[in-house]
């Protein structure tokens, strides 16, 4: 039988904000990289 853990995995209000900030910090450079690669890749279809 599994007992529901009271702590880990649960989220308290505000932590989703931190999650969003953390994802933005890694997502923006990644999107920039994808964008520059797409621009380069466009040459294949010209």
């Amino acid at each position: 039988m599994t007992q529901k853990s009271p702590g880990p995995g649960d989220t308290r209000p505000g932590q989703w904000g931190l999650v969003a900030v953390a994802w933005l910090l890694v997502g923006i450079p990644l999107l920039w990289g994808v964008w520059t690669t797409l621009q380069k890749a466009a040459a294949l279809f010209e």
């Binding site: 529901k4 853990s5 995995g9 999650v19 953390a22 890694v26 990644l30 920039w32 294949l44 010209e46």
Partner: protein
């Protein structure tokens, strides 16, 4: 300070949001993924003395090629050697170690460029950077698997996708920085190394400090519709290949499953390298006059996008269809696609050629991203980082053997009068053959035999430090 980094100090408290771990993992993998973009430095490094063109005394391409080779070898070695330490020390300590090694690699290389001493580049980017790569690769993967027992494939796919995406950031960033720092007396590589080393240090340390480990007895909160918490024991539709027990890292390599998966990774990577290594010349030679050099560069860029996308999508799909079936798809569809590549060349279809190559590359990336989840299914999560580290020697072996095999076969054929455009046919057939062998290796994977699992006592001893805290 040392205590601040220990595993015991980073056990997650109540309310910790496990969705903070993937961006932390991505921060590390996006940084070390720069390794795939090392080639942007190659040309400028051949002009350190001559500035506008290589001068006598400047480094040659073959001399510089060793830097990346050494880095990949040390990636495998450090992952294999320090994986056990990672499980004990915890992800924050090993993440900080990875950040220091990776960053120091850039800084030592910058000194090497200043002094024009190639040995400092071998030591810097090659040895130190390679250790940063190895530690940085396995640390997030091990942590994510423990936080996402219900979605292991998706979680590791997110991190390993970052390794594919790192080159997309690293290459244009290096280009921008070298242009910024270039002067009439310098190509700007040394300053670029320093800047990138510091940027990656900050990003990786941020990732390492965000890491937490789940407390003993961690359960995943149930989705709204489910009534009970999910542990790996109760993950929905747990297939027989997913164990709830744990195999010790020192025992894992004695199992046939370890070596079958080693072969699976080795064969999948070797076959993928067959396309990656020859992508640009292959499309230009097969479609002479129709595909220019810049279009070929675009093709290479497109492949890197599919490589990244495949890492996330295939590993996520493996959560639904199982790891064995996912590799089954790679090893069934893969050979057909490898045969399609020369066929597309024969009928002159660029679209078919690009589509086949792109799909092959998704499976190359997918193979990397799905293997940690496959390992944790078979060997449990306790030592998955260390076992994954040892398995990565397959990558190092494929990284050396793959290009040698591909280039040797091509040169052999051209030497015997085969036209350049047709010299790829045999290579592609050979790659298809490697995947067929991989199919049978994957097919032979069965659950680990009972005798290899750790007893409850052994497991308790291993977990003792974390529990005591």
């Amino acid at each position: 300070m040392a205590g601040f980094l220990t595993r015991e100090r980073i056990v997650a408290g109540p309310g910790f949001n496990r969705w903070l771990v993937p961006p932390a993992a991505l921060a590390i993998h996006l940084s070390i993924g720069q390794a795939y973009a090392f080639s942007v430095f190659k040309l400028p490094l051949t002009k350190i003395i001559g500035i506008t063109q290589p001068a006598p005394g400047d480094w040659t391409q073959p001399e510089l090629a060793w830097i990346f080779t050494i880095a990949i070898v040390f990636l495998g070695l450090s992952a294999a050697l320090f994986g056990r330490w990672l499980e004990r020390a915890g992800p924050r300590k090993s993440g900080v170690a990875a950040a220091l090694c990776w960053s120091a690699g850039f800084l030592v290389s910058a000194v090497g460029v200043r002094l024009h001493n190639i040995w400092l580049l071998y030591l810097g980017y090659g040895v130190l950077g390679g250790c940063g790569l190895g530690l940085g690769y396995i640390t997030p993967v091990s942590t994510l698997i423990k936080w996402f027992p219900d979605r292991r494939g998706m979680a590791t796919g997110m991190a390993i996708m970052g390794f594919g995406g790192g080159a997309m950031i690293g290459a244009p960033l290096a280009d921008l920085l070298m242009k910024h720092y270039a002067t009439p007396t310098s190509v700007g590589v040394s300053q670029t190394f320093v800047t990138m080393g510091l940027i990656y240090l900050v990003a990786m340390l941020a990732g390492a400090f965000l890491f937490r480990v789940p407390p003993p007895g961690f359960t995943v909160p149930p989705p709204v519709r489910r009534s009970r918490a999910i542990t790996v024991e109760h993950a929905p539709l747990r297939p027989p290949l997913i164990t709830v027990r744990h195999v010790h890292v020192d025992t894992a390599w004695k199992t046939p499953q370890f070596w079958l998966l080693w072969a699976v990774l080795f064969l999948n990577v070797s076959a993928g390298i067959g396309i990656l290594e020859q992508a640009s010349p292959m499309i230009q030679e097969m479609f002479k006059g129709r595909v220019t050099a810049s279009a070929a560069a675009g093709f290479v860029g497109l492949l890197s996008l599919f490589n990244m996308a495949g890492r996330f999508s295939w590993s996520s799909l493996s959560d639904r269809i199982g790891r064995k079936r996912t590799y089954g798809v790679f090893f069934t569809l893969g050979p057909l696609l490898y045969i399609t590549v020369p066929f597309a060349g024969r009928i002159g279809s660029v679209i078919l050629f690009v589509a086949a190559a792109a799909l092959i590359i998704t499976m190359y990336g997918g193979g990397f991203a799905t293997i940690p989840a496959y390992l944790s299914d078979l060997f449990g999560t306790q030592f998955v980082g260390a076992i994954h580290g040892r398995l990565l020697t397959a990558w190092s072996a494929a990284g050396v053997a793959g290009p040698v095999l591909v280039n040797y076969i091509r040169e052999y054929q051209i030497h015997h009068g085969v036209p350049a455009a047709q010299a790829y046919n045999v290579t592609m057939l050979l790659m298809a053959g490697l995947l067929v062998v991989g199919f049978f290796c994957n097919l032979a994977v069965r659950p680990v035999a009972e005798g290899f699992y750790m007893t409850e006592d052994q497991l308790a001893r291993e977990r003792a430090p974390a529990t005591a805290a």
